[in-house]
Symmetry: C2
Subunit: 268 residues, 2 copies
């Protein structure tokens, strides 16, 4: 049964979408069956992978409203790179549940329904058996959609850009997560904080990492994602980092993060 | 009567808060009376300036709910730097309307009231006479709060990080703004797109600026804000860039942007 994880931080632009795409791809390369869900009405994960979610495409919004079954909103995304595993060349692909602006109305249209916080959980329960990992990309807000992600997940990972403003909002986020753990999802755990866009030459980045270690201790994952321009370039080619630039810091960092997350899974 | 401008982009982390604080400070140095409004429940603008908005502080949420008058939620923020204007040293300050997490409930609690989209406009109308500029920092979403900002404003400025994902969401934003212009605020104009975190050495930054020029023409403001680490450091000192590092690219860029915005005001 799939390990379901949400990637959430209400601070914008900290690397949530970049992390979900590249961890999804890394886990796929490591032989796992992966579904990634775009729960942001802006559809950045969908755009990142070059998927067109027009009015004929079934999206996560159609799934949440019960209009279609979850598997009817699956899009197969082949990873560009050819991988040779055990001597055999294979075409790997991950599954994407896309999103588009229709989702923008969800907070209002789904707000009055019964069990409004567990719509995503019910949908994921139908398909958990088909995957090893389900990763959910959240919008930069604490809304009904991100509550749905936290209720559906067993783990939540918090990407934190190593700059001052991004650090400040983590305490608020932790409080919100604790409320969800108490009231809606007692099995939810914090998978960890992921330091992103780290540049060791910048004093502020080093200072922020120091305060993260002091404030959050072992919740801060060992792997830090370094600032690497190819991570910002790969979306304009619709590709994950392993496909776009296999020999790069971005590839190294996201692969080591995948291994840490997988390891965390077995000891978690 | 104040020129009211909203700074909005639903894409997170593109420099909205950094721009409102530093344009506010720049206009203050140029002799204007400035109010900056924090319309983000995360309160990043409030945190940026070292303001503590606890349960005893009147915030923008109290103003929107009509619990207090707008001027009861003013916090005076002195600019650290001493400015000598016409031979006289003066202590300049700008006014801040702070925010805190109470605002997170606004989309739900204010959603059913009458004229829910013009709550901020009504409040700003009471105090417009006291300022030359009112700048509104928006959260990274298209919600009731950002609609309030667009209804209250005469201009909207769109900070766009010069990276692929940030560019993609601008088209959606323009469509939303047009809907607001048609239905709720016919006098709203697009003040311009502001290219932020630009680093001329990075190919992707140059490419994105080229496509912005092609797609949006003269809507792209001439002044680009260059990537400059001191802009990310100044919030940890509670200071605007002019106070924190008067001799820096950040100071130069934001001062030239202020002049462009002021000039745009007179010919707009
Ligand atoms: N390690 C990195 N090095 C360089 N650029 C990065 C890195 N991680 C992310 N980026 C870039 O930073 C920007 C923000 O990243 P991303 O869109 O993944 O953040 P997000 O948290 O999902 O944003 P939002 O809050 O809007 O959903 C993007 O342009 C992305 O390409
Ligand atoms: N020109 C710049 N050079 C370097 N760092 C910058 C620049 N502009 C902004 N930053 C940094 O980038 C991060 C994002 O900026 P900021 O918080 O202003 O964006 P925002 O759009 O307000 O984010 P949110 O969507 O979360 O409200 C911050 O850590 C800020 O310090
Ligand atoms: Mg995202
Ligand atoms: Mg902000």
């Amino acid at each position: 049964r799939a390990e379901i994880a949400a990637f959430l931080n209400q601070k914008g632009g900290v690397g949530k979408t970049t992390s979900v795409v590249n961890i999804g791809a890394g886990l796929t390369i490591l032989g796992k069956k992966v579904l990634i869900v775009d729960l942001d009405a802006q559809g950045h994960l969908t755009t990142f992978l070059g998927i067109e979610a027009d009015e004929y495409t079934n999206t996560v919004y159609d799934v949440l409203r019960g209009r279609v079954e979850p598997q009817d909103a699956f899009v197969k995304k082949p990873l560009g790179a050819r991988f040779t595993i055990n001597g055999e060349e294979s075409q790997l692909s991950m599954t994407v549940m896309p999103s588009n602006l229709d989702l923008a109305g969800a907070d209002m249209t789904l707000a009055n329904g019964p069990e409004r916080e567990s719509l995503l959980k019910k949908a994921m329960n139908k398909i958990r058996g088909d995957f090893d990992y389900i990763l959910i990309d959240c919008p930069p807000s604490l809304s009904l959609l991100s509550t749905n992600a936290l209720v559906a997940s067993k783990k939540v990972y918090i990407p934190v850009q190593t700059e001052y403003l991004a650090l400040e909002s983590v305490e608020n986020l932790m409080k919100t997560i604790e409320v969800i753990m108490d009231r809606l999802n007692p099995s939810l755990q914090i998978g960890g904080l992921i330091a992103t866009r780290f540049d060791g030459r910048k004093i502020i980045n080093r200072h922020v990492v120091e305060s993260m270690k002091e404030r959050f201790g072992s919740l801060l994952l060992n792997t830090m994602i370094r600032e690497n321009i190819v991570l910002a370039e790969s979306p304009s080619h619709g590709q994950d980092i392993f496909t776009y630039r296999p020999r790069s810091n971005g590839t190294e960092d996201y692969m080591s993060l995948c291994l840490e997350i997988m390891g965390a899974g077995s000891s978690g």
